[in-house]
Symmetry: none
DNA sequence: CACGATTTGTTCGTATGTATG
DNA sequence: TCATACATACGAACAAATCGT
């Protein structure tokens, strides 16, 4: 008998499919701390050997765990145990990079797309512009230790922040990009929170399955003079974060 | 000319695409109150006939409106105008009854169940009790104009609030029940926000279908002396409210 | 429970206008 | 002028969800 892996043979014909038994066994292993949060699970081939089943059966089990948010498969890298949700404080000085690195994880933001678009009524209102005025729209993904934690659409008024996209792509941080654009400090004015299922594009950016729940946080940042400089709509994978208010 | 529907023909070749003109026309109709919140829009076929375009073109316009949250399409039922969600401020002096009546709606809370239970570790921590100490657990539903807006589990330390259940059932308000129990004022200490699909019981209490998204707001209230008096886990139907932080 | 009617969702194919080089 | 690419628009058929009978 193996000391670390208790792997009784699968029971066939008792009403539990093989993949379900494998999923239950892996869930127990994770709950027992055998695989820690963030740690990579054995490869599908290794698990197939351990349970003496075809790799397809292991994949079915892992898909069930991923569906429940317990693990996350990443193509070409492996399957990883999801950690406890990150506490994400919402306040007047909310900074993604500070929150994530304060939790001992490495923060980085990727710029997916940048475009000049006419301001929709919603953004115009938030930024105190006239509707249709040109704004810079950025699509970004924010990662903690490489895993996507949130994805955002942000809008910045335009002639002022023309170089923001390049600055953000180079620095990987809103705070540092603002500093490069001559805004040494900023504070969050208003924050609104909603929740809904993710659509296909949002899900792919967050590396979750479509239909999983996302928290939608809409906020406006202002510079020290009180001028709105950034409207934001950030999506968090709901089972990876917990928003903390007034901490 | 039609008295209720002003439908000038679409202007082709002037730089505005057909779907954009249709989206603008429908937006104006909704803004003008022609289609009220919650009301069903004409079917895609009917709109296609009204604007003399293909159904695809109407769908493109409706997709743009849905993107902005103005309408919601539901397969097999129709396309409906979204009502503005209730803005629910989260702060140190959050009061359900004040928020709802401030929005011009009648607030009332129903007591569904009350029981004395041993404090689970989570509630014990929040209320600064030893785990297993007796607490009063209340199941409540909170309504605005009769429609359920949220449902909550609340825990109160016991012997101090032995009469709270009866007071709440009679008053329909946490604030007034506290007043009756000798706590004239209280403030909210910490608030945590998560989101997930509703289970069957939660859905039935909120009068939504199981699987719809709920916002889970966990909070702790303290009396003027700073003593924790109430731990809370409130579920909001996510498409009926918008949490507002720091307004 | 079955069925049909209604309505939105999806996928073919085709044609046209516009911008680019 | 020609070639190409792309978004727009139209047409037809079918799939899927919902609702009433």
């Amino acid at each position: 008998m193996d000391a670390q892996l208790q792997t009784p043979g699968l029971v066939r014909g008792e009403g539990l499919t093989a993949w379900r038994q494998i999923a239950d066994a892996l869930t127990a292993d994770i709950a027992a701390g055998l695989y820690a949060a963030g740690q990579q699970l054995p490869t599908e081939s290794a698990l197939a050997a351990r349970f003496s089943v075809n790799r397809h059966t292991v994949r079915r089990a892992l898909a069930a765990l991923a569906e429940g948010g317990l693990v996350r498969a990443s193509q070409g890298r492996g399957t990883f145990v999801e950690g406890a949700p990150l506490s994400y404080p919402i306040g007047t000085r909310t900074r993604f990079s500070e929150i994530v690195s304060g939790a001992g994880r490495e923060a980085w933001g990727d710029l997916l797309a940048a475009a000049t678009v006419p301001a929709a009524p919603e953004q115009a209102l938030a930024l105190a512009l006239t509707p249709g005025a040109p704004v810079l729209e950025l699509h970004t993904v924010h990662r903690a230790d490489g895993a996507p934690l949130s994805t955002a659409l942000t809008w910045l008024p335009l002639p002022r922040f023309a170089g923001f996209g390049e600055a953000y792509a180079a620095r990987g941080s809103i705070t540092r990009a603002f500093a490069e654009c001559g805004v040494p400090d900023y504070t969050r004015m208003s924050t609104r929170v909603r929740a809904r299922p993710a659509d296909a594009q949002e899900a792919s950016r967050l590396d979750i399955t479509p239909g999983r729940v996302v928290l939608v946080v809409s906020s406006v940042n202002v510079d020290p003079a009180g001028v709105p400089i950034q409207a934001n709509r950030t999506l968090f994978a709901a089972d990876r974060v917990e928003l903390v208010i007034g901490g």
